[in-house]
Symmetry: D4
Subunit: 158 residues, 8 copies
């Protein structure tokens, strides 16, 4: 039946870890499978993400305000994209505190977005509140793609 | 007058029974009549709908969690589609408990969607609360198509 | 300045009186002026609007339920269109009670839509609450078109 | 069972006709039955309602602006009360155009309020769109009280 | 720590099955434990719930409209109560189709209410979509009370 | 990574001062950089903005109502555009009171829009509440363009 | 009729000018008339309002961040109060730029609050957009009190 | 002026770290100062918070589901409290990943709640996105109390 109904265009926001290639693996696999998705992501260049406020609007002596100016400019992108997304995939890696990823998950949850978390099993206990609000918890980018393929096209690879 | 104004593009979500060809009858008739509708539906493959969680994310020993993982993945599609729909058609057949169809109707109702129910007259008493929130209660897919034709194009077949 | 910025696509819903040619006068003048509007309107065939419920879903002995079935089917169109509209033009003529026009105005007002009322000065006292919520009160379809031209293209005919 | 659960406090807004004693009949009967309701109503003094803007803020030469100033001040009360109400009772009498009553019904409907209409059967055809959005259509104030008693206390007088 | 912060007043709506004493068991146990809850429930008298429309507003020849009038009057109570509730407990028994219970769950879910389902394990597969949206699935009224005690007072009986 | 994901189409509303060329500088620079933006702005012809109500709907003797009619017609454009915008840039110049610019900022803030303020440092103290709600405060149109380039394309000019 | 219905408790937020006694005149007159209002206002101590951030959280070398910290702490009060208010009275005096008052008006307008503006006629042209969204424009605190008396108690002093 | 207006009752939710006495320090100091606050907090007993699902609803073999059941029951409290709060204070300590605290901040932010973060300066860089959405960032519980005193009573201790 699914192939007789139009496949709607979906939008996914890929939040979280920026030090591995998980986004590219999802996007590449999804494109090969021709999934009807628009992909959105935060700025993934760590240095630019830290310094954008100071670079564009002027240096700050105080590290707090240096960070503050940058964080707010990044929020222009992040909030706009989360609001436009149907699905928010949130990736947690094994390094850094990644509080912005958890923040994005909370923000998306309050807006009623479908959330998929992506992390290793060792992080499951620490992430139980975030996983508790997700509609799926995956361990690999490939699982995320299978979920997105299934929900958007109806094809389940057994 | 209606033919002098642009026909807006409509979106309909077809919720409920997956064991008869009612969706196809609606879509085929609507396409013949060239109605300006995008059609959305849940996964209608019963087995895939039951097993998608376990197939993609791994088997569960416990039947409750097997079901739970699948139900939540299906919800990624279902909720996204209901939110994008202008009209939600909810079909109740004579078999199974179909609580997910009634759940969809409640979800759509709280979002203010236009609801059309589709069922045999024998089910009317049991469905009175659901019908009470619908803007139309039809007995055949062809009646649904006539309603959608009338509201979208202004043509009423007498 | 206005001609250097993209003209957004607007949507207008034309609510109310169905016994004069005011809709056509607005749409024709707007098309001549090439205004960027999609036009939506209720069913303007009085007989179809009254009978659609009974014609599609079956006759009713009781006039109340005959009307009820029809009114609800018309609401599928009306509510969907008001929700999609940026501007709701509500026309009151000199005949009939036209409670549905006032109802549409209230519905649009609560949704925060921009409302333009269109009626003769003699009706102004009776319509003071509705006019009080409107962003403009016009007496002729041509004034409505001038308003829509000005707000959408920035051109004011002096 | 109903008498074992706390009776919540309800709020009702009584909209519409101001030339008969229907509000008093509802309130008196409800008080006799000790219903847990707070009663809200628009200004029911016709002259004050018309002139409040000019009396408080200064006379206007132009009748339109005289009405406009008054209508908006009345809206401070009307909108605030409708937003605070659980149930909106809308009464249509046999005189005047009463567009403000229909406007209130539309406003309440878009906010998802429970609406009860109250009018004679002769008005049913003209009010079919308003009745179509109501959860009950009564012909007498006493019926309204019976409905409110039943939904708030669970007692149905057979 | 929890006993140093004020216990907020909670409101719970008890939806679903009306043929067993599950509501009374929850309310009695909660009162013994002095839980800070206001309890709301639908009309639990089956006959009154079916006939209220006809009894108050007049008989209907047609069973569909008899049911329709009653279902809508019950909706005045049901929707108002669900909107006021913090927690919605939905009970499914082993008899009847109980589509109104599933409808309530969907309605509550779209409003973002915390949902607790209550049913026997045999119903779990048929209720997987409803359970998938619940924050807890209990098998006994006593478990529901323990959950409500824990979330409202912080006391967990081990 | 950013260049591997689709650049979403953005919409910006340029609110405030109409006596310098700041809008054109932003739009020109953004077009040269090929930024994916649709640009919206208020009517920037001062005379038309003041007189539109009287010109289209008829002269008023009273200056207050002359202004009132015009302000409301301009609001049809302003509110519609702010609601459609992802980003609202609010420019304050050194002349006039510009209360409408601050009003737009408040309106946009309550809707959760991303706000960028643009003004000279001398105005910073008087604008501290408005800047406090903005995600960036720029001093030149070129800084605004750099922010919009960075958030929409991920390119940061160091 | 109005005296037969309960007077609801109202909440008013008094925004804007802090250099004259207009708030006290409103509150005193309202208390004499026993109006059912809770009165909310911003911090009206100019120095405290400017310095609160630095005093509580530590000094800043940079004036911009000094202001920023203070403005945001004041926003905790301002936004919370506007959201709790039924009516927002916004006062504009003849000194200072008062952009925060216009910002509050825009914020309140987007939330659908009833707005009353209070200012001298000389400011009317500059405030036309703000007045255009208000439900009343008063010139004296006494007029504001008369409006609030009328809408809350139904008494109109002629 | 502030002491002439009623102090509204405020509600604060204290989210985050459960291994130090910061909540008690805030509540004690606020009570001494007689601040008009109701205090809400998550379950702060670590063991109960982890095990509540298994204790009430039955053991799980699989650690993921053990956590999942508990996390969702805790969410009944957490979400209800955040939604009822005017101010959400989020505390980050130096141990554990505390993703639930960041999640709460994101959830509160999307709901438009006033957020105050509380953490040591060393965490500022890692928390820059969360601080970027907060209306104040404090380093000690006493600073939080001073903020809450100032915004609720208008008293600033210099």
């Amino acid at each position: 039946m699914s192939n007789s109904t139009a496949n709607l265009k979906w939008t996914a926001y890929l939040s979280g870890e920026i030090h591995s290639d998980w986004r590219q693996r999802i996007i590449n696999a999804a494109r090969e499978a021709d999934l009807p998705f628009t992909w959105l992501s935060p700025i993934t260049n760590h240095g630019d993400s830290d310094d954008c406020g100071a670079v564009i609007l002027g240096e700050e002596n105080n590290a707090f305000w240096h960070d503050h100016k940058g964080a707010k400019i990044n929020a222009i992108r992040t909030r706009t994209y989360i609001e436009k997304a149907d699905v928010v995939v949130v990736r947690f890696g094994d390094k850094y505190r990644q509080w912005n990823a958890a923040f994005d998950a909370g923000y998306a949850s309050a807006l009623g977005k479908a959330i998929i978390t992506l992390h290793d099993p060792e992080l499951a206990h620490a992430l139980k509140e975030v996983d508790g609000t997700a509609l799926a918890t995956a361990q690999t980018p490939e699982q995320v793609v299978e979920i997105l393929k299934y929900v958007s096209t109806g094809v389940l690879k057994r």
